[in-house]
Structure formats: structure tokens, C-alpha cells
């Protein structure tokens, strides 16, 4: 029916917060060595444990869970921002080429700069490179595919293909010219998903997440009016150009850091805001924070699944989200076509 069926905001807040807490505990408890929830809570609160439990929690699983949660939340917020910017619920960082652009930026940074630097400054440089590449990609896609009537899905996705193809060829070019040492570094970075997690990576991701969380309050009302259309938002007193510039920079920053810290993880930015929107409606004052909670939970669960399903080896988490996300995206496309 066309009557709005919405979940009460308080219930959604409660459920998603609970889900995040639960996913966090599950992510720490499960792995190639299973710990009990009691042990996890004891380890987290600093009480001594028998065996290697405490070490596993503190040096392996906790930083990884923190990184997964931060990256998941960043990707979900980035997706919601992009969808608001493009006024199109099908925008996603990986589909429109932002992730690919960020990967090129990160590769450039790895090949040309990061070698001579220490671990932390190298990581920051890779993040900066990914940020630059992502920025270029969003800007390009936005310039080409947006018009006064919003953005056409077709143009947006085609631009995504074009940008991704360009990114792939640039990456290939870099592989071609890279020497042995650079190649080794590149392939190490490409393999490193969340399993490269440590407190430094988690800390950088958390810092960027914090910026995005702080930005939400100021953006949500303006984004709501932007959904009406650009000139409509301007007539409602929104400085549209400034809003768009800030959104593009934030999305590039978020996707860039997530790519630098955890590699390319697709579809989180598409699936999570979409589910939340079905639940509580498109109001960004709810959509943004709830997407952050949902994204963090989803990536924690996906990562746990990736670690457990063929333990003791693990799947890249990007594979798991893609296996979940691609059919979801196809069904979205189909339902939109049926509507028209």
C-alpha cells in the first residue's frame, strides 16, 4: 500500500544499537579459535583469562573489529551522502567508480611515495592518495551525470563503468612500470583486506568516522531539502554549491580512507541506507546515524562470516559483501524497471 509503514524511530535506534553490540561481541568471539561471550566480556573489561584468550582478543580481534565497524559505518554514511547528492537511491561508492578511483590513488601513493616512509606516515600517504583519487572520481561522475532534474541512473552507472575502466587501465599501467619491490608492495596492499588490521589502521579509520559523524548534524536538514531538487533547495535557503562541495569531499575522504585501510569493499553503501530507508523513511536525520549503526554491524558480521566459513583460512570480506550485495542491487534495478 501507499500508506507509509514506518518503524518507530526509537525502536529502530534500539534494534540497530543492539545489533551493533551483538555483532561486535560475535566478531570478537568467533574465529579459528572460538571464545565464549563471557570470556570476551572479561577480556574486554581487562580481567585475566586462561590461555591465549586475552592475547587473541587484544592483539588480533579487537583492532580488527574496530576497523571493520569503522569502515562499515564510513561506507554506509558515504553511500547515504552520495545517494542524497545524486538524488538517486542507487548511487554507491563502488558502483559509480569512487572506490576504483581511490584504489588508483592508493596505488600511486604506494608505488611512488610510501616506500621510503615509516609505517604510519606511509599509511597516511596511502590514505591521502586514495582520497585524491576518490575525489577526482566523484567529481567527474557528478559533473557528467547530474542535470537539473536529478541524475539519470543510466548515465551515472555508465560513468561508473567508464571511471572504473579508466582506473583499471591506470592500475595496470602502474603494474607494468613498477619494479619488483613496488609490485610486492602493491600486491600486499591489494591482498590486505581487514586482515591487515591493527590499532593504527583502526585509529585512522575511527578518526575519519568521527569527522563524518560530526558532519551529519549540519547536513541532514539540507540534504532533505536537496532531495526536492537543487533549485528547490536553493529556494529553501540552502547554499547548494557549498553543500555539494562538502559532500563530495567527505565522501572522497571516507571512501579513500576505507580503501586505504581495508581495500575495496563493495555494496555496503548501497544496501545499508536502502534497508534503513525502507524502515524509517528517507529523512536524513534518522537515515544517517542509523545507516552508520547498520553499516558497522553488517561489515562486522560479514567479516566474521569470512573468517569462520572456511577457517582457519579466510575469505576476503569484499567478496562476502559483493555476494550479498550484487543480487540485492539486481533486484533493486528490476523493481525500479517494473515501476516505470
Amino acid at each position: 500500500m501507499s500508506l507509509a509503514k514506518r518503524t518507530a524511530p526509537r525502536f529502530a535506534w534500539f534494534t540497530l544499537s543492539g545489533l551493533l553490540a551483538l555483532s561486535f561481541l560475535v566478531a570478537i568471539a568467533f574465529g579459528s579459535v572460538d571464545l565464549s561471550i563471557v570470556d570476551v566480556v572479561r577480556a574486554l573489561t581487562g580481567q585475566p583469562l586462561e590461555g591465549y584468550g586475552a592475547a587473541i582478543v587484544h592483539s588480533i580481534r579487537l583492532p580488527r573489529a574496530l576497523l571493520a565497524a569503522s569502515v562499515g559505518a564510513i561506507l554506509a554514511i558515504s553511500g547515504a551522502y552520495l545517494q542524497g547528492l545524486f538524488r538517486n537511491p542507487l548511487a554507491d561508492p563502488s558502483l559509480i567508480g569512487v572506490t576504483a578511483g581511490a584504489s588508483v590513488g592508493a596505488s600511486v601513493a604506494i608505488v611512488f611515495g610510501a616506500g621510503g616512509l615509516g609505517f604510519v606516515s606511509g599509511l597516511s600517504l596511502v590514505s591521502l592518495g586514495a582520497f585524491g583519487g576518490g575525489l577526482l572520481a566523484v567529481w567527474l561522475v557528478y559533473k557528467v551525470s547530474s542535470s537539473i532534474n536529478g541524475t539519470s541512473v543510466a548515465t551515472m552507472l555508465l560513468m561508473g563503468i567508464a571511471v572504473s575502466a579508466l582506473a583499471a587501465s591506470l592500475t595496470g599501467l602502474m603494474d607494468y612500470f613498477a619494479d619488483n619491490e613496488m609490485l610486492r608492495r602493491l600486491s600486499l596492499w591489494r591482498m590486505g583486506g581487514l586482515d591487515g588490521a591493527n590499532y593504527w589502521r583502526a585509529g585512522i579509520a575511527a578518526a575519519v568516522l568521527l569527522v563524518m559523524l560530526l558532519s551529519m548534524g549540519g547536513f541532514s536538514r539540507a540534504l532533505n531539502t536537496l532531495l526536492l531538487g537543487e533549485s528547490q533547495a536553493r529556494h529553501l535557503g540552502v547554499d547548494v554549491e557549498r553543500l555539494k562541495t562538502r559532500l563530495i569531499i567527505l565522501v572522497a575522504g571516507g571512501v579513500g580512507v576505507s580503501v586505504a585501510m581495508a581495500g575495496s569493499i563493495a555494496f555496503v553503501g548501497l544496501v545499508v541506507p536502502h534497508m534503513v530507508r525502507l524502515w524509517v523513511g528517507p529523512d536524513h536525520r534518522l537515515l544517517l546515524p542509523l545507516s552508520a549503526l547498520g553499516g558497522a554491524s553488517l561489515l562486522l558480521l560479514a567479516d566474521t562470516f569470512a573468517r569462520v566459513v572456511i577457517a582457519p583460512t579466510e575469505l576476503p570480506v569484499g567478496l562476502v559483501t559483493a555476494i550479498l550485495g550484487a543480487p540485492f542491487f539486481i533486484s533493486l534495478l528490476k523493481s525500479r524497471r517494473d515501476l516505470q
Binding site: G229, S231, P282
Partner: protein, 278 residues
């Protein structure tokens, strides 16, 4: 009789002097002068491409004029801060693409976003605006599922809610710009919407609207201006502007004009289709 000449300074909301707009080498609007008072409904008529929408978009600051001045309550409109402007100038554009599933009520509430008047007052205003346009029953419906006419009325309720109260406007002058607000509506809702706009104008809001239906403009406008090729051909009361010779000239088609049997307002009839050329 031209109302412009009787303009008292405190009633004047919008004054346009020598306004010209062009895109590339094409002149869309040429040297337009206009003044609109509080409480007045001004209808802009003219054939397709005459510059009606361009005029409205220029007043609404979507287009930058080549020359001329637009002042709002004796201030240059361009110098007003966006937020302050939004509190006293509301615009309903011709196309309102919104595909996100807001409820009718949420769309109307977006009109209150330039204000910080608090939830209680905003709720009352949204309810009043929705009641005025007979869309209260659409409050919980999802906007994308509404018919074109229902969407249009919701959007109008949104822009009315935006400038609903005089005390929210810093200069207490309020201006409503409507671009073809009735085009997708049936005759009943056309009249109801025009009536709602008239009543809204009575709360001392100046209204400038483009209307395709000349008869509708004649029935509801205080004043009409006729545009052709970007120039103002005529300005005055409905009876002054809606004459057979003038309308035939503006629209390049013969018309007959009779007076409405009940209201006495001019009714414009196309004369070609009957075969009797004037």
C-alpha cells in the same frame, strides 16, 4: 488603470526595473518593468517561449540578469542572505522531481526548514497549509505514489507553509512565485487552488504566477501582464488586458472574449476551431 502608479512605498514588495536576461546570444527577457504590492495577485500570461518562466526564475535567483534591478521590500534581492530570503520568498517551480518516499506531511514540513520556529508551531502551520489545499488526507501517503495533481497540491502546500506567517519574515514582506501551478489539475482543483492562493494573498502576500489558462488568469488575477518574445506587451486589470485584439496579437490566433454570465469576468474562447474566423 495601472496599479503601479499608485504604489505606496510600504506596500511595495517586489520592484523590477529594466530587467533583461539572455542565454548565449538569445534574449529571453527584454527590459521588463514591474511592481507588485502586498496582497496583490499578478498573473503572467503569454505564449510558449514568451519568457514567463524565465521571468520567474530570474526573480527567484535561479538565473542572473544581464541588466536591471530586482528589489524586494526596497532592498536589492541579490544582497539578501539565502536563509533570510527563503523566509520571505517562496517559489514553486514547474517540475518537482522527488522520487524518495517521503510522506505528504514530510514534504510539506520541508517548507519549514528555513525557520527555527519549533516543532509545535511548524506542525500547526503544516496542518493549516494542507487544509487550505485540501490535502490533509494525503498526510500519511507516500509522495511517489500520489497522482500528479496530488503531488502538485502537496508541493504548493509546502511553499505556502514556507512563508505562512508574516512574523517569520524579517522585513514582513512576503512574496510567492508560482510557475504554472494548475497545469496538471482538474477544473475543480484548479479553481480550489487559485482560490487558496487568492486567500493566501489576502494575508498581505504578493503573488506572481504564470498561468497557461487565460480565462483562469482573468478570473483570479488582480492584474495581468502579457509577455511576447520577452517583452511586456500589456499590463493592467483583467478587463484591460484580455481584449480580443490584444490576446489575438499576443498568441497569434484569433480569439473571442465574452463575459462570464455569473462573475462578469472575461472568458477567452479560441475562435479558429469553430470555423468562424474573426
Amino acid at each position: 488603470m495601472n496599479k503601479t502608479s499608485q504604489n505606496t512605498p510600504d506596500k511595495g514588495v517586489l520592484t523590477i526595473e529594466n530587467l533583461s536576461v539572455s542565454i548565449g546570444s538569445r534574449t529571453l527577457i527584454n527590459n521588463i518593468n514591474l511592481a507588485v504590492d502586498a496582497g496583490e495577485v499578478l498573473c503572467v500570461i503569454g505564449p510558449n517561449g514568451a519568457g514567463k518562466t524565465t521571468l520567474l526564475r530570474t526573480i527567484g535567483q535561479d538565473l542572473t540578469p544581464d541588466s536591471g534591478h530586482i528589489s524586494f521590500a526596497q532592498q536589492p534581492l541579490t544582497r539578501m542572505a539565502p536563509r533570510a530570503r527563503a523566509r520571505q520568498l517562496a517559489v514553486l517551480t514547474q517540475h518537482n522531481p522527488l522520487t524518495f518516499a517521503f510522506t505528504g506531511r514530510e514534504v510539506v514540513a520541508l517548507g519549514r526548514s528555513p525557520h527555527s520556529t519549533g516543532v509545535v508551531i511548524d506542525d500547526d502551520i503544516c496542518q493549516a497549509a494542507m487544509a487550505a489545499l485540501d490535502v490533509s488526507h494525503l498526510a500519511q501517503r507516500l509522495y511517489p505514489s500520489l497522482s500528479g495533481g496530488e503531488q502538485q497540491r502537496i508541493q504548493l502546500a509546502r511553499v505556502l507553509a514556507q512563508i505562512w506567517r508574516a512574523e517569520d519574515a524579517s522585513t514582513s514582506a512576503r512574496l510567492l512565485l508560482l510557475d504554472e501551478p494548475v497545469t496538471s489539475l482538474d477544473i475543480g482543483h484548479q479553481h480550489q487552488l487559485m482560490q487558496a492562493v487568492r486567500e493566501f494573498a489576502r494575508t498581505d502576500v504578493a503573488v506572481v504566477m504564470t498561468v497557461h489558462d487565460i480565462t483562469l488568469a482573468g478570473a483570479f488575477a488582480d492584474r495581468i501582464i502579457a509577455l511576447k518574445n520577452g517583452e511586456c506587451i500589456a499590463e493592467g486589470s483583467p478587463h484591460e488586458v484580455l481584449t480580443e485584439s490584444l490576446i489575438s496579437h499576443v498568441f497569434d490566433t484569433p480569439v473571442s472574449i465574452i463575459n462570464h454570465p455569473q462573475t462578469g469576468k472575461p472568458v477567452v474562447l479560441g475562435a479558429t476551431e469553430t470555423g468562424t474566423t474573426v
